[in-house]
Amino acid sequence: MTILIPRRTFLVGSATAAAAMTVGQEARAAGPVKAAWVYVGPVGDFGWSYQHDLGRKAVEAALGDKVKTSFVEKVAEGPDSERVIRQLAGVNDIVFTTSFGFMNPTERVAKQFPKVKFEQATGYKTGANFAEYNARFYQGRTVAGTLAGLLSKKGVAGYVGSVPIPEVVMGINAFTIAARKINPNFQTKVIWVNAWFDPGKEADAAKSLIDQGADFINQHTDSPAVVQTAEARGVMAVGEASNMQNFGPKAQVTSNMDDWGPYYIERIKAVIDGTWKSQSVWLGMKEGAVAMAPYGPAVTPEAAAAADKVKAAIIAGTLDPFAGPIKNQKGELKVAAGQTIADADLQKMDWYVEGVQA
């Protein structure tokens, strides 16, 4: 069952927070495990928060009356989120906070509620009752890059970027590396819209990339506007976070989808069994956290076979998307043959590979 908690009740005052704190100290009573989610966006964004909420629904479907879930959406990153997290901690057994900016507030609240479990997405800190989880979205972009290398006739892809942070940069690089393995002259033109969410601007960016010669558009933004624009202009595109096929029945070759369901089910089961332990995981295709939408009509059987092969190799662990040799934009060797990029360096990535124009 779902309990929709109106945002306002959380902002009533800190007096209730103090009262809630004592509740949190008690051992977990018998009955369903109570799990809560904190979303940075609206569940109706058809992107990031929407996919986390699908994960929550998957938990309900899988565990039935063994779990009681609730969520708070549109929580601004910052001091306000700490209040929301603290209130949820008072009445839940486990709290998932699903954005990078919730990391420090979650850590502080976790220290005050040692019996409650906390899990925070896309951060890097952990504690005794505070776990961290993230997904290797770049693996999906490697598959998309393989498709781009095979399907783009001009050998020029456009990439609509949101905000220049390592997470986005590593996606652009993974995509370009994969495409250049097939077409050594492949180019990726990048346009930053400097926003996570502005459908109009995302569409304008896609239009300008298409006008400047790109016939394959990838994106790291949150709305279906890019896929929709590609459809209207008759070029190919990759969806983001959700399956955006409705907006580009011909244009969408695949979509880089997040699937948090399996992870959430596993972690809540662990709470039920009493086996939950703090950890820091970076999930990938192997764990099912990154999945590709079914191929669109533009994907030839050969391209589909090649993409499936790459996917299988990533899952089997035989293909590392960042295996050397990798050169930077100036053509200097950054990663030697036989080497790869460590996770810690990926999380700080601030340089582009050869073939990226940004």
């Binding site: 058809f46 990048v190 006008d211 506007a225 929709q228 624009t229």
Partner: protein, 309 residues
């Protein structure tokens, strides 16, 4: 830069400018009547979802545009009751209207997320639309693009060349004087507020019907605030609103094209903040004595009016 890029670039500028122009033209009339409605963003969002829903359910673009305008007007009527009839604080009420519109549109739109619609049709004009360069540039747009320019002209003509426009400006400049010579200040302001709401609703409708034919929460992404800034930037003159909307739209689109061609002179973040910077500059200029007389805001802007008989 050759024509094959220039023409689509300019078409993108027109698309980017149209929602700003529609909403700002409406807000201009509201402010010239002496009322400050900061709820443009909220009215645009409610207009966007209502237009989208009407299009999704009925499939009629005309009904969809009407629904967008009507939704904006209904929300502005609520604002009118609060600030005009009950004389509440206009700034606080306008901000509340934006928050209300944000939540209301999300609630109404919950079942419309993830569904595409047929975009608003481009109206081809026989003979003209097939002309090279100016055909795609000037004569191949949808109804709302033409309407936005027509409405700017109509508002300019109304304000400067009609008795009604003179009265509306009089109400905005000196409510007590207008009242003392027998004009119904509150009623005239209601008309202005309703017009502003309908235009903001149309601006939102343009987003969900033509710009990006879809519904997603918060899809205006701050365009209501840019429209408000535009009115100040244009010093309350309709044709300057038109120029400003195309300038702001132009800067946005141009910087995207510049990035795509690898030709970036200034950081993109700087260009993103340009509209707001321009507004601050205009506001600063306005506060200095010599410029003030030429750029002056309506004297009664934001002041509540209580008729004393």
């Amino acid at each position: 830069m050759n024509l094959s890029i220039l023409v689509p670039l300019l078409v993108s500028v027109i698309t980017a400018a149209t929602p700003l122009l529609l909403a700002a033209t409406g807000e201009l009339v509201v402010e010239r009547a002496g009322v400050l409605n900061l709820g443009v963003e909220g009215m645009m969002l409610v207009g966007a979802i209502c237009a989208f829903a009407a299009m999704f359910i009925t499939g009629s673009p005309i009904l969809a545009m009407l629904a967008g305008a009507a939704a904006g007007a209904v929300l502005s009527a609520l604002f009118g009751v609060l600030v005009l009839t009950l004389a509440s604080n206009q700034v606080a009420t306008g901000l509340a209207l934006t928050l209300f519109g944000l939540g209301l549109s999300a609630l109404m739109g919950a079942n419309f997320v993830g569904h595409p619609i047929v975009p608003l049709a481009k109206l081809a004009i026989p003979g003209l639309s097939s002309l090279p360069v100016i055909g795609p540039l000037l004569f191949s747009h949808d109804a709302l693009v033409y309407l936005s320019v027509l409405m700017t002209g109509a508002v300019g003509w109304f304000l400067n060349h009609t008795r009604g426009g003179l009265i509306l400006r009089g109400v905005g400049e000196s409510d007590t004087s207008a009242h003392s010579i027998g004009h119904d200040v509150i009623r005239i302001r209601y008309y202005a507020v309703l017009f502003g709401g309908a235009m903001a609703g149309l601006g939102g409708a343009y987003l969900s019907l033509a710009y990006t034919p879809m519904w997603v929460e918060g899809m205006t992404a701050g365009r209501g605030w840019i429209a408000l800034a535009l009115v100040v930037f244009a010093a309350w003159r309709p044709w300057r609103v038109l120029a400003g909307a195309y300038l702001f739209g132009g800067v946005t689109v141009l910087q995207l094209y510049a990035q795509g061609s690898g030709f970036v002179l200034v950081p993109t973040q700087f260009l993103t903040m340009l509209p707001y910077l321009a507004t601050i500059v205009v506001l600063t200029l306005m506060s200095s004595g010599s410029v003030r007389s030429r750029l002056a805001a309506p004297a009664c802007l934001g002041k509540p009016f209580r008729p004393v008989s």
